[in-house]
Amino acid sequence: MQFGLSEEQILLRDNVNRFLDDHASLDRVRQYADGGDDADIWAGLAELGVPALLVPEDQGGIGLSPLDAAIVAECLGSHIAPTPFLGTAVMAPTALVASGGNHDELLAEIAAGTHRIGIAFSEAIKRRNDARVEVRGERMFGKSLFAFDAEADSYLVADQNKHLYLIAANDPGLKRSHLTTVDKTRRTVELTYEDVAAKCISTDVAVFEATLDIGRIALAADTLGAAQNMLDQAVEYAKQREQFNRPIASFQAVKHMCAEMAAQLEPCRSMVWFAGHALAELPDEARVTACHTKAHLAEVAQFVAKTATEVHGGMGFTDLVGLHYWFKRCGANRQWLGAPEFVRQEAAVLQGLVTD
């Protein structure tokens, strides 16, 4: 029995972290937030094999597990790195493989890091502002809100029936407009479909669900990384900052805030590991664990993001320290792919407590 990361997984984590330390510093993230692109970061991650993680070996990938994807997501969250990882490397390959269709060419391009696939799922999870996606024949109409990855080459779109379609970003009928959010470490867009060519990937709801589950676990892992980084920054700051002739880390009021963050966050790490493992190995528990993991990480991270900022005092509120980028990343992850109250409701249905 061994519940933890293997040597290979620790190596993967260390390699990705080392690359991000060098190439996705806070200064580099600020460049992206100010309008720069993420092309060099993604190209570097592609050299490490990151986009190929979940693509099967016989389709040009590495064929690793959802847990490995969660490990990388945690690194990216820790560095609040702008990348198309969630859509391109996690959700799209999962959908394409699960669909059973022949997508060898596209999967090979994903693995090589030369094709980015965005995700437009909000209308299949919880529609807001009355947005909806309509597919008639092989043509798509309507709109999707808050699709992620503004620079994608194509989008995986889910309609209200949870059917999946692939559309090209350069389709003449597609209008893509940037939707500014508080989170400047990733960009979301509104996609308006005016007679767009829609290639059906799957009408099997199970394919949508498998794609959503792994996306949620990757988001939870991203949140884990971001929250852990905020806690680490808070502890470090408290050790340096002196008031009343002593480091504020020696005041119990401050220590207990940090202890509470650590105590809530530490079980989250095991939860993300288990959820990633369950997705591949424990089908009976996979879906319900994915829901609880997504929702629980959102709650713990909300507490950590607030508390870590408070430990920094006034500096935490400024742009100088940049802590707010992590705060907002956690906030965005909380809402993406299902807000915690709705996700817990899904868990209740999966546990057989209610019917819908």
Binding site: P247, S250, K255, A259, A262, F274, A295, Q345, A348, L353
Partner: protein
């Protein structure tokens, strides 16, 4: 990542399940520490290696090599079957491991067998009115007079003192030494003249604890574990272990399952409470936390089995998070029932034999006992996160 224990352990689990099927009817009901049924059950469990597993045969145990997985399987299956896992109490859980670690051969021979067989019941004399979180500040005095210690002072929170045969007790034997180096660990008979016990009724309405007073209590000099002044190390040899096991996540999941059943059966205005989205969301939030703690315990277990694995803070946080979680969980059940949740003792509308209220209060007790939540946070921040200790105030002299 490998969550299987392997075929050897699957077979072991089957043995435990079979044993329970064939013998569960012999188990005592409730938590009687002194009855003959409980003693007979204890004997049967020891013979089969389901309790006192690693205590050497020469002292009355089963004499197996330590095996964390087997111990866990036994605990899981007895819990699943809701069958008594054998005698508990502080003699078996704390004194016996302490004696095995630090006791003399004579002490092991004299005390371990009657203790594990249920013939010798112990209480623990650690806390004092002036020494709670700061336990090492204890002041109960032991002065050597010829071949006897003469003990004067007061202990508090001594559970089972009123029925105990013996006490293991921390006393200040070296008043001039630094506070952690002036303590000794003594064992003595509760029938010794000079001991007075007063029950301490707690918020549950029961007297789970006592105050214990010592006036010129004379104890033979050799009834000491470890050397004079070593009592703090003797006591700490096993204290950490106690904290981890106060609120296991598997038990919490059992309580969540019971809460789900409760919410399916209880109604408000005729509607089932499981169908109320507000209560249901609170339930699911608790379910998430219990899940996270179950996986955290897997990590703790794994780090024990695989010495190279970094446990992070997984061990350090279990007492704090586990006890707070149980308190919240039991409290939710009370909220769900509304006024019926207030029912207690002989109320005809009582649900679950009153366990929800009792555990709601009991776990508040555990949040405080065994190192308060605030002390746990000090430990986590200082030892876990490397934050400095609060500067100490020296006593003005």
């Amino acid at each position: 990542m490998d969550l299987s224990f392997g075929p050897e352990y699957d077979a072991f689990r089957s043995d435990v399940v079979l044993f329970l099927e064939n013998n569960a009817d012999k188990a005592p009901k409730g938590s009687d520490l002194r009855g003959q049924t409980a003693k007979d059950w204890q004997k049967l469990l020891i013979e089969n290696g389901y309790t006192c597993r690693t205590i050497p045969k020469e002292f009355g145990g089963y004499g197996a090599e330590p095996d964390i997985i087997k111990s866990r399987i036994i605990a899981e299956e007895f819990s699943n079957a809701r069958v008594s896992p054998g005698l508990g109490g502080q003699g078996i859980s704390m004194l016996v491991p302490t004696l095995l670690e630090m006791g003399t051969q004579e002490q092991k021979e004299q005390f371990i067998r009657p203790t594990i067989m249920g013939d010798m019941l112990w209480c623990q004399g650690y806390s004092e009115p002036g020494a709670g979180s700061d336990l090492a500040a204890l002041s109960t005095a032991a002065v050597l007079d010829g071949d006897e210690w003469v003990i004067n002072g007061q202990k508090i929170w001594t559970s089972t003192a009123h029925i105990a045969d013996w006490i293991f007790c921390l006393v200040r034997s070296e008043p001039d030494a630094p506070k952690h180096k002036g303590i000794s660990f003594l064992l003595f008979d509760m029938k010794t003249p000079g001991i007075e016990i007063r029950p301490l009724v707690d918020m549950t309405g029961q007297a789970n604890f006592n105050e214990t007073f010592f006036t010129d209590v004379r104890v033979p000099k050799h009834q000491i574990v470890g050397e004079r002044g070593q009592g703090w190390q003797v006591a700490n040899a096993i204290l950490g272990h106690e904290r981890e096991t106060l609120a296991p996540a598997n038990t919490a999941q059992t309580r969540v399952n019971a809460l789900i059943e409760l919410m399916k059966n209880e109604t408000a205005d005729g509607a089932r409470l499981i169908d109320n989205p507000v209560y249901r969301d609170r339930l699911m939030k608790i379910q998430s936390k219990v899940m996270a703690m179950r996986f955290n315990e897997l990590r703790v277990l794994s780090a024990r089995l695989n010495p190279g694995q970094d446990p992070g803070l997984s061990r350090m946080i279990t007492k704090l998070e586990g006890t707070e979680l149980r308190h919240d969980l039991e409290g939710l059940a009370i909220d769900v029932m509304g006024e019926i949740g207030l029912a207690y003792e002989d109320n005809p509308y009582l649900r679950g034999s009153g366990s929800w209220q009792r555990d709601y209060m009991y776990f508040l007790g555990l949040i405080i006992g065994g190192g308060t939540s605030q002390i746990q946070k000090n430990i986590i921040s200082e030892r876990g996160l490397g934050m400095p200790r609060e500067p100490k105030f020296e006593k003005a002299s």
